[in-house]
Structures are given as structure tokens and as C-alpha cells.
Symmetry: C2
Subunit: 396 residues, 2 copies
């Protein structure tokens, strides 16, 4: 069976070919403390000393690593040539580049794409020191296109794992709908969810302090908030933003309910209207999402629905990629704001997995937010999750 | 009660004063995927959008963060001024620097110190873009001295937590000495250890794949190795390198035993001689370790004992700092090899916590390796762990 790491290394070689680049260098050290996001894709374990992982368009796969890391790198099975060193990486690195003589050496930095920016500034300076007096100093180029496509275009094996993470997340959210009720707090619900994740021996898809995010009522901490001692009360909108990581791949979904007051058999009109608007905005994004469109166009389609309905613009993008990380880098379905850099101008590609997410506040009730996940196909996209189509009553 | 984060932020301000620096800027984004190692010291949680954390010698503590992160940053309690933004960090950042008008803006990069090198190259380029046309572009300086001392000089609260992590690690190693026996494999022992860590609701101090490292006999994978299906057999040296993380602080220890053959009541002479040499070398390092010496001097003292006894030099440094990470950066007690950069030339400081570790191979039996932890005091150092002084028999 081909491992996902083998799939990704093969994909990297094909990307070098299609991008007309000769050589990709991932240059790292002590990755337990600061891991280049590219590393899990092509190695799947940590390195201690300064290490150079080189993939070429011709198919060379060369790992120059500290002597104590060499055996562990061998066990990965994708690196054909492992060059261990004791005193310093620079000699073998210069020698290897001299032998390959690539026209470009792509290294992992990017102003915009967080997941293509694993080279630290100190390591960049070290690399330029090591390559001083070689022709390769002037052949360094950013590897953002490689990193972006390698991470963003999911292989079949990756999509399968993402589907499994979504299924597990949806099952847990189903249990939340029965656990959450009047009198329980945001923290109670968060602990319940964490318990289920731990029982299933899964991981949380993002920082435990903020996974799940649980919001009840109008006074809750929206956004990247931390669950509080706020109690679920009648009249609240109850909202959860949550995902698990299963076999290294993540899900990221939002679901919500209305908590009925005595005698209420359906949610108030204002909350339904907000829900329908959010639902329609997500559907508008989904309709716009297909290979070749620029990411900001998808955001604009959803944003227009919200603004046209008279709600204030939401202060975040309409979607991000998901994969090994809940926020998986690459193109972002966001507006052309400074903080997104050039990522909204990227073109959507087949194989991308995005969230579609947004929300609005309803005064006196709380936050209406939904988030689903979609896979970009050859000519559009399809839901990976099962969208919530109705604002249901909690405890109903 | 003063939190450790408050202790560290106060320490940072004092360091700016003593280093004659006006301002320290930690500039990060999406820290779940790539976290500047300084962040846990001064914030203790993650940030999603581009964020600027500024500490000045005058005592300002300013966090410019994305609007959805602001509430969570408030809960930390150490940031006096929180400036949330929606579209981009650059405006508020330039404005804030203009108001503070610092003579230097120290940012987190270092060729040598992994833990002072949290700024990625892409983020460095972004920062220079944002500061273009301001005087602060030319006032950027590396913050390696701040990061190194802040991380390296442990507060009383930090030392207390490290002691607790060591105590838990020693208790688990004690249980290993009863579990490990002839017929069990390296993997069996590793799983037993992981089970104990999980039962105690602790974390492993480094990557689970290589924590613990378990070595039995002469054919095992030494160094940063992965436990294998190798069985413990009579005549083996059995060795384990392990530590837990408890309340965010780590331990890192090595212990070992000899597995007696039928009729043997003590280890063979050759293994005892190796053990004594390793023990003496560690004691020599301990005797040399005090504030003001350069790190390489401590390594040289230990290395000399091993070489004088006729063993080959070990291919790694004699010690590293320990704290929030098992490999905690700063000065390294290592030889003047390229891969250690300038870290062996750093001066030892009071409050540093180091490992002292080294080993030799004994042909036909396996690896003799020991590792202890010490705290540098005003005029020397003291053991934090309880050193192993004798090569005991496994199962005895």
C-alpha cells in the first residue's frame, strides 16, 4: 500500500515538473519546537539537528540529517539517499547541490501563505551563509507554489481521512444536541465534547482551550472565544464550532440550535430570518466555488447575501482550507483585506477542501453561525459534511 | 498569586533594561501551526491573525491582535493595552511604534538559538514591508539575547515545576525497572511507559514516536531512535531515555541496567568500566558547570574523561537546557561544531537548567548512556534529579 507520505512526495515531484522548478529544499532544525508545516507531508516525523530534505524534478529524494536522526528517517521509506553528518550540514549540503546543479533551489517562505512559510529568518540567514561563494545563493526562490499546491490539492487518501474526521465530528455534534440543555454551561458542554473525543482516542482539531468554541446567548465570547460559566437559558441561540483530528486529518464544523422559552414551539422570526440568511449565503459561496475562480469571488458571493439582507458584514473570510490543520493555508476565501495578503487572489484548484462559514448576531438571542466543508471537483464542489438546513429547537 | 506568565513578562521588562533595549516585538500568525517558542512564555495561548506583542523597558505591554482573538488575550491578564483590528495589523503597528518611538525594535530571529528564532522569513519580509518609510525599519535588531535569557534563566515558579516533572519521570523509571525483563521488547516497554504517562494524565516531553527511546542490546537504534521489536536478552545493556511534561515543564533523563546471563551476579567488567567512565565524565561536567564559564568548557571537561579512558568521542553535546521544551535552546554544552553555531560560546547563567548526558557503546552488550538534570546556582550547580551511581542488574 502506498502511504500518504509516498503519495505526497510523488505529488511534489510532479509539481516541480509542472512548475518548471529543478529542486525543492526543506531546511529545518529541532522541529519538535518549531516545525515547518511541510514536514508532516514529506517526512511525518521530527528532526533534531539542522537537516536538508531535497526533492528534485528528476526524482532524487535526498535527506541530509544529523547522525542520530538517520535511522529514524530510513524507517519512513520514501528517502532514497540519506546522508548523515556529525559536525555540520553545510559541507554535505554544498556538495549535494553541486552534484545536482539545479537552476533553482525553492525554499519554504511566503509572505502570505502561513503553511508555505516554515523557514525561520535565522535559518534563512544560516542558509545564505552556507551557500555564500556558491552559485546556489542566487538561485534561492520561494517554494510557496509547491507548498501551496502540495498541501491544497488533496490526494484520494487524504480526502478519505478528511471524510472520516467529518463523520466523527458529526456524530459528536449529534450527541451535543442531546447533552446541551437549560442550566448547563458553555464549559459543561466543552468538557462533555472533550470527553467524547478522548473516549474515541481522537484529537481536537485545534487548540484545546478553544476547541470546541461554545456560545450560548447574547453575552458569549464570539470568534476564537473560550467557553465560560455562562448558562444555557431559554431564548438563547446555542452555537458550537468544533472538529476532531483523526489519523492526522481535521474537520471544522459549526452547528446551532434555538433554546425555546416556555410555550414556544418554534424559534422567533428574527432568529429564523438570520438563520436563513446565513444558510443562503453559504449556498451562494458553494455555487460560486469551482476550479479557476479567484478565492475572493467566492467570499464576495456570500458576503453580498448577508449585506443585501441588511446585516453587518462579518469580520472574517468565508472559508479556509482544511487538511492536516484546521486552518490549512493556501488560498483563503476572504475579502481583499491586508491581513489575508495575496491569498484571496489565488485560484481555486480541484482537490481543495474548504470550509464555508459565516454568521450574524441576533440582538437579545445570540450568534447564528454555520460552517460546512466542501471538496472542489472538476467543475464545481460537493459537500463533505451534511449541512444543517433548519434552525432546530434544543432539547426537542 | 503571580502566574508564571506574569513572572516571565516582568523578567522580560527587566531584561530590556539590563540589555539597554527599548522594545521587544513578537510578531506572529496562526500559531497553532507554527508557534514562535517565545509565545508560551509571554501569552500562553494561540493567535490566529497577524499579531504584534510589544513589551517595552518602560513597562508597556501592548497586544495588537485580530478582533476575534482580543477577548481571549484579555483573559491572560498580563496585557495592559489590547488593540483589536479587523482588516490589517500594519496601521495600528506603525501607529503604536510611532507613539513609543523606541531606539530599537528587537524581533525574534537567531542563526544559532532555535528558541530565539520564532520569526519566519516570510513574516520578517512582511514586517519590513509594513515598516517601509518609517524609521523603525532600520531599528530592527535580533532579540536573541532577550529570548535566550528569558527562556534560560528560570524563575522560582519554573524550577518548582521542573522538579515536579523530574519526580514524576523518576517514579515511572522506577516502574520500568520492574516491568522490563527478558522476553519483553523495546516496544513493550515503550507502550508500558506511555500507559503510565497517560494514567497520570501527563504528557510526553518530546515526540511520542521517540519518547521514550528504549534500547536493548548491541543491535538497537541508538540516538533519536524508535523502539523496535527487539527482545530483551541476557547479556544486554538495557537503556531508556525518557521524560514527562507536567504543567508545561519537562524532564529528560537516561537510566540503564545490565541483563544478567545465567549464573551472573554482577555485570561484566567491560560494562562496569564503561558505566564508571560515563558517570565520571558527567561528574566532571558538573564540576565545571557554574555561572560565567563558556558552555564548550563544560563539554570539554566531560569529553576528556571519555577520550582519556580510550573510548571514542560521543557524537553530540554533553548537555542542553530544559524547560518548556526538552531541548530548550540557549547555550548548549557542546563542542565547537558548526551545527551548534555560537551556542557553545555562550556563558552559563545562574538559573539555567541543563541536562548532563553522554554514552559509549560496549561491543556485544549495547549502549551505556546516562543523563541527569542540574540547576546552575550562584557559584556552581546542583542536581535536580537523583543520579544513577551504579550499573544494577535488571530484574534484581
Amino acid at each position: 500500500m502506498v502511504t500518504i507520505i509516498e503519495e505526497k512526495v510523488q505529488q511534489a515531484q510532479a509539481l516541480l515538473e509542472s512548475l518548471d522548478l529543478d529542486c525543492w529544499l526543506t531546511f529545518v532544525r529541532e522541529t519538535v519546537s518549531l516545525a515547518d508545516p511541510a514536514l508532516p507531508l514529506i517526512l511525518g516525523q521530527h528532526l533534531t539537528w539542522q537537516s536538508a530534505l531535497i526533492i528534485t524534478r528528476k526524482g532524487e529524494r535526498i535527506a541530509i540529517v544529523g547522525n542520530f536522526d538517520a535511522d529514524a528517517v530510513k524507517t519512513v521509506g520514501v528517502w532514497n539517499e540519506i546522508i548523515p553528518y556529525t559536525e555540520g550540514v553545510s559541507g554535505p549540503l554544498r556538495e549535494t547541490l553541486g552534484r545536482l546543479d539545479p537552476r533553482q533551489v525553492a525554499v519554504n517562505y511566503s509572505r502570505d501563505d502561513i503553511m508555505a512559510d516554515g523557514l525561520t529568518h535565522g535559518m534563512y540567514l544560516l542558509l545564505t551563509d552556507y551557500l555564500k561563494d556558491t552559485p546556489y545563493l542566487r538561485r534561492l526562490v520561494p517554494a510557496d507554489a509547491i507548498c501551496g499546491a502540495l498541501r491544497g490539492c488533496k490526494t484520494p487518501g487524504e480526502v478519505q481521512r478528511i471524510r472520516a474526521a467529518i463523520a466523527a465530528t458529526e456524530q459528536i455534534l449529534e450527541q451535543v444536541s442531546r447533552f446541551a440543555r437549560v442550566g448547563r454551561t458553555e464549559i459543561d458542554v466543552a468538557q462533555f465534547v472533550k470527553g467524547l473525543v478522548s473516549d474515541r482516542k481522537l484529537e481536537l482539531a485545534w487548540e484545546p482551550k478553544q476547541c470546541p468554541i461554545v456560545n450560548t446567548g447574547p453575552d458569549s465570547m464570539i470568534g476564537h472565544g473560550i467557553p465560560a460559566e455562562l448558562k444555557i437559558e431559554p431564548g438563547h441561540l446555542f452555537h458550537i464550532d468544533f472538529g476532531v483530528r483523526q489519523e492526522d486529518y481535521c474537520a471544522d464544523l459549526q452547528r446551532m440550535w434555538y433554546v425555546p422559552r416556555a410555550g414556544e414551539t418554534k424559534p422567533p422570526e428574527r432568529t429564523c430570518r438570520a438563520f436563513d440568511t446565513v444558510r443562503k449565503a453559504i449556498e451562494a459561496a458553494k455555487a460560486a466555488l469551482r476550479p479557476g475562480v479567484e478565492c475572493w469571488e467566492v467570499d464576495a458571493a456570500a458576503r453580498k447575501v448577508v449585506v443585501d439582507a441588511g446585516y453587518p458584514e462579518y469580520g472574517h473570510g468565508t472559508g479556509h482550507q482544511v487538511g492536516r490543520a484546521a486552518h490549512d493555508g493556501g488560498g483563503i476565501l476572504g475579502p481583499k483585506w491586508e491581513r489575508y495578503g495575496k491569498t484571496p487572489y489565488r485560484k481555486v484548484e480541484s482537490g481543495n477542501v474548504f470550509t464555508l462559514e459565516l454568521g450574524v448576531m441576533v440582538e437579545g438571542h445570540g450568534y447564528v453561525g454555520l460552517e460546512d466543508m466542501v471538496l472542489v471537483t472538476a467543475d464545481g464542489c460537493e459537500y463533505l459534511s451534511h449541512p444543517q438546513t433548519e434552525l432546530c429547537l434544543l432539547g426537542a
